[in-house]
């Protein structure tokens, strides 16, 4: 029963495994997003009270917060793969980091964009150079920089290592984003953006947020694996197993 998990570190054996996993992740994505959005739109209060008396527009939270979370988590995931690649020189790790980057960039953009449309009705502005908003924008540039640097270098192995280093340096932004509003002493971090505190959110709102977050995770797995498969095919195009695969598929 001692199956060796490391064999999946080889692109040739990971490729078919990813192919089998992708449909599962897509189904989970669909289910979670449907449940989360249905619950968010129909099972939550129409408006908020207290000192945060937002009306229907607060429902942007169901996309905004999960997207913002994903933007930070995916960056950490990307850096982990990049660091593993640098240390162990495994081809698949670099490919993994490459495959995560576009999804992370999309979520960062989504967080900024939905934030703008939420900020207009609630705060009164689309954008402000608040510490939280500014650091999130820089994270977006880090993703773009990673993708751009990688595609600017022709030699794939050099591109992998250079981009991985840039990714690690960019990791500096993730704690900054989190603590830009959640610093230990609230009096020290003046910001327009509210702090985050999951215990202050009503159960139904929290449930929808978490369901959408889970859906976004599944979406990230699905898209990353799809991207990974095409990266594997491109990079291993000269290998026999890819040639055989193409012959079998009748595309050679």
């Amino acid at each position: 029963m001692a199956s060796n998990w490391f064999r999946f570190a080889a692109p040739a054996s990971f490729y078919p495994l990813a192919g089998r996993l992708i449909p599962v992740f897509w189904i989970l994505t669909g289910v979670c997003l449907l449940v989360g959005l249905y619950w968010g739109f129909f099972q939550t209060p129409d408006q908020l009270g207290g000192s945060n008396a937002q009306k229907e527009y607060y429902r942007i939270i169901f996309i905004h917060v999960p997207a913002a979370w994903m933007s930070m988590w995916l960056y950490v995931v990307m850096v982990c793969w990049a660091a593993i690649g640098l240390v162990f020189n495994t081809r698949l790790s670099f490919m993994m980091a490459n495959a995560v980057a576009p999804t992370g960039a999309i979520f960062t953009f989504l967080a900024l964009w939905t934030g703008a449309f939420w900020g207009r009705p609630s705060w009164g502005t689309y954008w402000d150079w608040d510490p939280r908003l500014t650091t999130e924008l820089i994270l977006f540039f880090m993703y773009i920089g990673y993708i751009a640097l990688h595609s600017a270098i022709d030699d794939t192995r050099r591109a992998d290592r250079a981009a991985a280093l840039l990714a690690i340096v960019g990791l500096v932004m993730v704690p900054l984003i989190f603590w830009s509003v959640n610093c230990p002493d609230p009096n020290q971090c003046a910001a327009l953006h509210q702090r985050s505190n999951l215990t202050q959110i009503e159960g139904n709102i929290l449930f929808s947020m978490l369901a959408v977050t889970f859906g976004f995770w599944m979406y990230s797995f699905a898209t990353t694996l799809m991207r990974l498969r095409s990266i594997i095919l491109t990079r291993e195009a000269d290998n026999t197993w890819v040639q055989e695969l193409l012959v079998k598929g009748g595309r050679a």
């Binding site: 000192s51 945060n52 202050q200 009503e202």
Partner: protein, 155 residues
């Protein structure tokens, strides 16, 4: 194996370095970068006199008054220590109300009135339906007062 360990140390050091940079940036963010000035700081002339800056605080209840032109609104912003009067011509955000936090951007006039070009409403991190929120209201107001008011006191 030797080369791999070297790379591991190298990547480990890089991550530690990045962590240190992050910590330094955070402490800089805490002590140097003032996103907004509190009324106490403005009264102590810590805010730039000839420049646009942000003033943050709570709208004092009972002070919001529309001027005769029908467009200009005047209200007091306080940090529970000092108070600055703000004049603003334009549309106020939905969440603007008495007792709530605001961040305004503008210049301090010679008459001591802060002429705002922009008024932004600040809200807290609580997402509760109105009936639940009402029961917690008292606790909250105290929370905001602490978070916005103590800025001035600590400076």
């Amino acid at each position: 194996m030797k080369a791999r360990q070297k790379r591991l140390v190298f990547v480990g050091l890089a991550i530690v370095g990045v962590g240190a940079a992050s910590a330094l940036a955070l402490s800089a963010l805490n002590s140097n970068i003032s996103y907004f000035f509190s009324p106490s700081q403005v009264m102590a002339s810590e805010a730039p006199a000839e420049h646009v800056f942000r003033l943050g605080g709570l709208v004092t209840p009972g002070t919001v008054a529309r001027q005769e032109d029908g467009l200009t609104v005047k209200f007091d912003v306080t940090d529970n220590a000092e108070t600055v009067t703000v004049a603003y011509t334009g549309i106020l955000p939905d969440l603007f109300s008495e007792g709530q936090g605001v961040v305004t951007k503008g210049r301090l006039g010679a008459d001591g009135v802060f002429y705002a070009e922009e008024v932004l409403a600040k809200h807290d991190e609580e997402y509760m339906p109105p009936e639940v929120a009402d029961t917690l209201q008292t606790a909250h107001v105290e929370g905001i007062v602490e978070s916005m008011g103590a800025r001035g006191a600590s400076n």
